[in-house]
């Protein structure tokens, strides 16, 4: 029984990471209808930036905040410089650009930081919190951090004028222009936020999976599965999807298929959702009018 509880709790912790990454994916999908294949590598790169800062002696939480700001800027730059020129290009061209971005970030990380695995510190103590047996401090801390992040984002989008403008720009760019919203900058902002969210996900998962350039590819797969399960154009769905996938991964891994095939679970989930219910739990079905 205690292992079961621990598996569920661990699933919630990783689920929070998947939820954050899935949210980043949905944010970009909602405003551009593009799937950001490079989301994982951006998060990985941001985590390396954090690692560099921490190694240079910067205190953890200060490095955390700096990384948020740096990755935000990176996201904005990527959108303005690399993505904008192909915004309206055919789908294949866009997908290729995203893959190119994935590859560049991966190789630059490999070049600068080498492929040797590095340890990434957790800001939370090693002892279990309050003597609880089924959860580690890092897991608890990770859940809290992701919850705070999601809450902040929700408040931003729901209650601030800028958040409202971003929602409007994602839904209806033409009408947004008619009320004076600079839609191009809203897209850049969306990318910046997505990159910042990704950096949090990276920093929370790195202590568990260790830092190396290929660390995010499996996690990205789970995030895709989560976003699809929840509905690729539903932020709430993505978050819920993240937790579902996290718990499912752990339970199936521990009791059903063993830890070695966990990625295949994500793959099967993705294919099943795409073939049976592409809109996911909360997304909208797109009907193409002939």
């Amino acid at each position: 029984m205690e292992t079961f509880i621990h598996q569920v709790v661990a699933g919630i912790a990783t689920g929070g990471v998947y939820a954050s990454l899935a949210l980043a994916l949905v944010m970009i999908y909602q405003s551009t209808h593009h799937i950001n294949f490079a989301q994982g590598e951006i998060a990985m790169f941001a985590t390396y930036m954090a690692w560099t800062l921490i190694n240079a002696g910067v205190a953890y939480w200060l490095a955390f905040i700096c990384t948020l700001l740096l990755s935000f800027s990176l996201g904005v730059l990527i959108q303005r410089i690399i993505i904008r020129p192909v915004e309206n290009a055919p789908v294949l061209n866009i997908v290729v650009v995203f893959i190119g971005l994935l590859v560049i970030l991966n190789s630059i990380a490999g070049w600068i930081f080498t492929y040797t695995i590095k340890a990434f510190p957790s800001p939370f103590p090693k002892e279990p919190p309050f003597g609880l047996y089924f959860i580690s401090s890092h897991e608890l801390g990770s859940i809290c951090v992701t919850m705070v992040l999601l809450l902040l984002l929700y408040s931003f989008f729901k209650f601030t004028p800028l958040g409202l403008a971003m929602r409007a720009a994602a839904q209806n760019p033409d009408s947004s222009r008619l009320v004076g919203i600079r839609v191009g900058w809203m897209l850049a902002l969306g990318w910046g936020l997505a990159a910042a969210i990704g950096s949090v996900a990276g920093m929370m998962i790195a202590p568990v999976v260790f830092l190396e350039p290929n660390m995010m590819s499996g996690i990205l797969l789970y995030a895709f599965a989560a976003a699809l399960v929840g509905g690729i154009d539903s932020p709430g769905g993505a978050v819920l999807g993240g937790f579902i996938v996290g718990i499912l991964e752990n339970i199936l891994g521990a009791y059903v298929i063993g830890t070695e095939l966990k990625l295949s679970v994500a793959l099967v989930l993705i294919i099943v959702v795409l073939t049976i219910k592409p809109a996911g739990l909360f997304g909208k079905v797109i009907v193409s009018r002939v």
């Binding site: 004028p161 409202l164 403008a165 929602r167 409007a168 839904q171 209806n172 033409d174 009408s175 947004s176 222009r177 008619l178 009320v179 004076g180 919203i181 600079r182 839609v183």
Partner: protein, 238 residues
Amino acid sequence: MSRMLLEVKDLFAGYAATEVLHGLSMKIEEGSITTLLGANGAGKTTTLRALCKMIKVRGQILFDGQAIEGKATEDIVRLGVAHVPDGRGTFGSLSTEENLQLGSYTRKDKHEVALDQEKMYSYFPRLKERRNQQAGTLSGGEQQMLAIARALMLRPRLLLLDEPSFGLAPLIVREIFDIMQTINQNDKVTILLVEQNAAMALDLAKYAYLLETGKLVLSGLSEDLKQDQAVRRSYLGH
């Protein structure tokens, strides 16, 4: 002669390979209501889109003496031009109130914005009832009112309206036209109204332009156009 808020000289505009407007010239007097009439496909919607730079244009557009043909839509909006597009362009998944808030997005005067929001609710009580409802679930007439209210939240100097009567019951259309009269007289908003319903438009507007396949064929006081034989036959049904 009153001053001209908007002057258009030799405007050419279109989509991709097709040019729809072939050298349009018109003047909109400040404080007036002007109507742009024409059959389907004449280019009325294209004209309004061109004025907001939603499409590429060639020619000159002067708003309050300032050339705007090189500016982006978002900047033209900031000069005080509000456009209620055909199809209404409401943000369907956002609430009624959020739609209104977006209308005042570019304004910095919070206090005045709050006053204007109350004013909109007084013009359109039905919107107040549905302030937290999702805009996409409003009826056609209510969405049209919302679109106009959103445009007015800008406190525009020029209001462009694209077929506000489209698909609406006559009673609702009457309501909307009355509101337009009110905002023109009380709030001094200059209006350029594109309409298929020529009779109502000519009653409301002081000036009228008639567009046929991208060219202006008639212009002048509505009074005069109402008497014109060709107009009466083709657009007024008598």
